[in-house]
Symmetry: C2
Subunit: 232 residues, 2 copies
């Protein structure tokens, strides 16, 4: 009985996953997601939190959600081990320190795992795929997007999270209307951000309301940039 944790974060506008390089056999030297054995005295959630902290130095607090179990025979060459997949979303990964079992720990773009150009130890590629699929779905119905950004953020930053994970372009004006008036979804702080190096009007700063909870109606927009008024 192990738990494995998929840690997702935004970096340079793209979705990244936190991986460790295995320091022991099997799959020594390969990339894998952090995880380890559950102790009999702890719950699954506690085990996930502890393993994450031990192997990467990251504290995911209350953002760990379970998303699947994996128990195919042969998934671990040593013995038949069932693992529970956990998903964690972080705004700022902070200091990443490789733990005792890991030779290294770093962020890699999620796309590299999704398209198969980087394959992981065990069945971890599958687990990462499932985790990202879960985030995509949860983004539509929960406020998990606020977990990717800082404690205060602009709507442009929040919109970038949706765009990166869904791979679509969202209209800034419509996005605002979808997210702002909807309950206490995001809360304006009254303060304003400093404009970026390219100038522009400063944006209102928001903080997360009832984050990662139910509610929140952001829907995908099919595409931007077409408008066919049939002008023959």
């Amino acid at each position: 009985m192990t738990v494995d944790i998929v840690i997702l974060t935004m970096s340079e506008g793209r979705l990244h996953v936190l991986l460790i390089r295995r320091g022991e056999a099997p799959y020594q030297g390969m990339w894998a997601i952090p995880g380890g054995f559950k102790r009999p005295t702890e719950t699954l959630d506690e085990a996930a939190k502890r393993e994450l902290s031990e192997e990467t130095g990251v504290d995911a607090a209350s953002l760990l959600t379970q998303f699947g179990a994996y128990g195919d025979p042969g998934r671990d060459p040593r013995m038949n081990v069932v693992t529970i997949g956990y998903l964690a979303v972080l705004r700022d990964v902070g200091a990443i320190v490789a733990g005792t079992d890991a030779a290294a720990a770093s962020l890699v773009p999620a796309a590299d795992v999704l398209n198969g150009s980087l394959d992981l130890a065990f069945d971890h590629s599958w687990i990462v795929r499932d985790a990202i699929e879960r985030v995509r779905a949860e983004l539509e119905v929960t406020g998990i997007a606020t977990a990717f950004v800082g404690s205060t953020f602009t709507l442009a930053e929040l919109r970038a999270v949706y765009e990166a994970i869904w791979g679509v372009q969202l209209d800034a004006a419509n996005f605002r209307r979808s997210v702002v008036p909807e309950g206490d979804w995001v809360i304006p702080t009254g303060r304003r951000s400093r404009p970026g190096p390219s100038g522009g009007r400063p944006a209102e700063l928001y903080r997360a309301g009832r984050a990662w909870q139910a509610g929140g109606p952001i829907h995908r927009q099919p595409r931007a940039g077409q408008k066919e008024p049939a002008t023959s």
Copy 2:
């Protein structure tokens, strides 16, 4: 490592769950959901299918979906066991035969478990609750409703599934429009049903198209019977 299976079916217009009465300690004589230990040579899905068949004689075929893992210390008084929860939806449970470990097997209304008037062995009450919550969610996005009805069915029967699980009233006309033209969601057979004892026009018979797969846009209707045109 065990698997536990929540089998849901419709009976007398209400949602029912298949339970067994435990024949052994612990919790001897209490109601529980079927399940058992996974063997090292089989996958989790195979284990769920096998245990279901062994303990109840039910063949759930391909309708088993995993929905959660439970591993709190103390959930089993004998030892620390993690269990994987599976959900199965059946149209007709067919012959229910109590297996070797079970003293009896029968269907009980899901409401009895939900409202706490019947509590189950281990943490099975929680597991059943989670399974039903999963079905409610999956009903909105997958065609799992067709798994509750027979191989051919009328739209009224299918609508009754939604109404029973969500506890709402759906407009028959709008329900039709939501489900019929949507791809090959349900397929008309051309045949018609015999009207019930209370008469009425015979309904078209349908069969499931791409059941329990993605797609399918049924949304909840808040309530029936109000229409406030503000007639002062």
